[in-house]
């Protein structure tokens, strides 16, 4: 049984070959593309669980490809970057990636990232019976992962959804950076503050009326983040 279908996108044939060989031996089904355009084509006709996307490619680069994939799909994306600078990492996450790995990487590290990205939280909101949330002008439908803010509907990616769910079942409680990272990304994480910064911003853009002055997803300086739920919230 396959552990998942992975699309490897890199312009270097050796890397594609190495990825194909190593990932296949770990039980993944692997397909590969040479360019961003080719990958987008492939994603239209086949289904995958995860895309391994190189940042530095000729044609439309990895960042742009990531944005294009994200505009129509919430598939898991891990970006492969050469540079380890903060800016490049944040760029990758901003474009919609779930995670990134710096080249060259070790296979155990990559496999751990793949597992963490594919790993889903147990559907906690189901247990609490919280399926739909309607707050002043904002409607969050947890069963279809859709958010509507004043008639503007957007869909949450898997990681965004997990993060929001984690907040929603712990309303009005400050949650530390480490707890959030470990709960949503996995036990190997804990220091990647830039992940949280980017994902919280992405969530704010989707659920807040004014993302620069958040009403729900508020920052508690030094400590972490808190989901502020007015007491008169409506449960259905």
């Amino acid at each position: 049984m396959s552990s998942g279908r992975i699309l490897v996108v890199d312009d270097d044939p050796q890397i594609r070959r190495a990825m194909k060989a190593t990932l296949t031996s770990r039980g993944y089904e692997v397909s590969d593309s040479r360019t961003g355009e080719e990958a987008l084509e492939k994603l239209r006709s086949e289904t995958f669980d995860l895309v391994l996307l190189d940042v530095n490619m000729p044609g439309i680069g990895g960042i742009e490809t990531c944005g294009l994939i994200r505009s129509s799909s919430d598939i898991a994306i891990i970006m492969l970057t050469v540079s380890s600078s903060e800016k490049d990492k944040v760029d990758a996450l901003d474009a919609g990636a779930d995670d990134y790995v710096t080249k060259p990487f070790s296979m155990p590290e990559l496999l751990a990232r793949i597992r963490a990205t594919l790993r889903r939280l147990p559907q906690a909101p189901d247990d609490s019976g919280l399926r739909q949330l309607a707050l002043e002008g904002v409607a969050i439908d947890l069963s279809s992962r859709q958010v509507t803010v004043h008639d503007r509907t957007s869909r949450l990616t898997a990681k965004e959804f997990d993060l929001l769910s984690y907040f929603l079942i712990r309303p009005n409680k400050t949650i530390s950076h480490r707890e959030l990272l470990q709960a949503v990304w996995g036990p190997d994480y804990g220091e990647e503050l830039e992940y949280l910064r980017v994902f919280v911003n992405r969530l704010r853009k989707k659920i807040e009326l004014d993302p620069s002055h958040p009403r729900f997803l508020v920052t508690d300086a030094w400590a972490g983040y808190r989901f502020h739920l007015p007491t008169k919230e409506i449960r259905k």
Binding site: D12, Q14, I15, R17, A18, M19, A21, T22, S25, N56, L80, V82, S83, S84, S85, E86, K103, P104, F105, S106, M107, P108, E109, L110, E191, A221, W222
Partner: protein, 498 residues
Amino acid sequence: MVTLTESHTRSNFERVLQKAGRLTLRLLLALSLIAAITFVFFGHVNATSVGFFYLVAILVIATAGGLVEATVASIIAMLCFNFFFLPPIGTFTIADPQNWVALFAFLTTALTASQLSARLKRQRKEAQDRQQEMERLYALSRAILLTDTTQPSAKQIAHQIVNVFACPAVALHDRSANEIYLDGPEALPDIDGKLRESASRSIVTREDAGEILITPIRLGGEPIGSLALKHAFLSDAALQSLLNLVAVGLERARAQEEVNRAQVARQSEELKSTLLDALAHEFKTPLTSIKAVTTDLLSNPDESLSQQHRGLIAIADEGADRLDRLVTEAIQLARIEGGKFQLNREVHFPSSLLSAALRQTKSHTDGRDFNLQVEDDLPLVFVDGQLIVLMITHLIDNAAKYSRPGTPIAIGAKASEKSVIIYVTDQGPGISEDEQAHIFDKFYRGSRGQHLKGTGMGLAIAREIIRAHGEEIWVRSNPGQGSEFWFSLPIAPPGSSE
């Protein structure tokens, strides 16, 4: 030189001669006019009418000629009037005392009229001169605005002064470029020293009996050069305007040049950065496939690999790691050494910088005891967190490399007056005083470290990072007693938050 002076004197002499000739001619004309009136009216017109005719003639002379001609004509007319028209006619004596009054009134009127007329004429000439100066200054300002970059601006300005003011010789000293440009058909002997003196001491001098004027060019009170002009018959106001124009022109050229230089520097910096990125990509791409394969094989749990094969693959894996570090550090160093990289400063806890560095080094320094000593209540620091963590990892890597396995490494932070001091100390063999002078140099490796793996760039990178923050790094070591590396970090301004 002698011939030059001679030709000068000659030309001066000729000029005076010409002037005298023209004056004589005009005087002759004036006198013939008076004589004509006398001749035409003598004998049959009364004295009063003739007096008025003389006055009209003198006014005409004063308007057409000058003060000298009018004055001479007035006196001659007065004498003629007396001799030919006032009785007794044919003598210079006057019988009737009333005629004395008339003669005196005539002379006064004639002289005053000629004075007034001459003054008017002089004023008109002055106005014309001012206007010409204004036009020339305007032409010069246009020319200065239109200077291009094919030649030094100061050279072009000197040339334009010669053109516009018809100066026989001009020398312009541009102090910031330390250049002197000469222009014009005549020479200015030994002018260099005088120009420099005028600029440095900010004094105005005249040479060659006032023919050459040397004056400093000031901008905002500061002398930025000096100008020597030969035969420049300019009013003080025009000269000041000329100097201001030249000052503005020089300053404008200097500013333009500065902008150009900054642009070239920025472009070359961008090129360098692009090249480095391309280089990083080219090296890291093959390393990625090598590492993927070696780490996959080494992490494979099944026993398909023999112990021997595992050992061989581990060698390839370590080689790839080392190559990766070399490439990374070479690029870091090149980037940081460019000196133009942007510090991405933020507020950080010193302790989180230390723990981040420790986390990143753990993989290479397995099994070492790290003794973390952080003072309580340390102030926050304002630094580029990524770079500081990078340099602390270099220091920790060094400490681990140059000390025996199993000996502890201490890492700590403490507050000083104006900064937070961070240190990394080991119990290795220490560094001799000679070597301490060199350890921060690129590619330098301690005498005991020749066999060790490393790039020799770690401390050079550390020093560049700390310098970019305006802080210091230093080493304390006694051979046999270990080494201590210390550096300071700037404290964040009060009231800032992470």
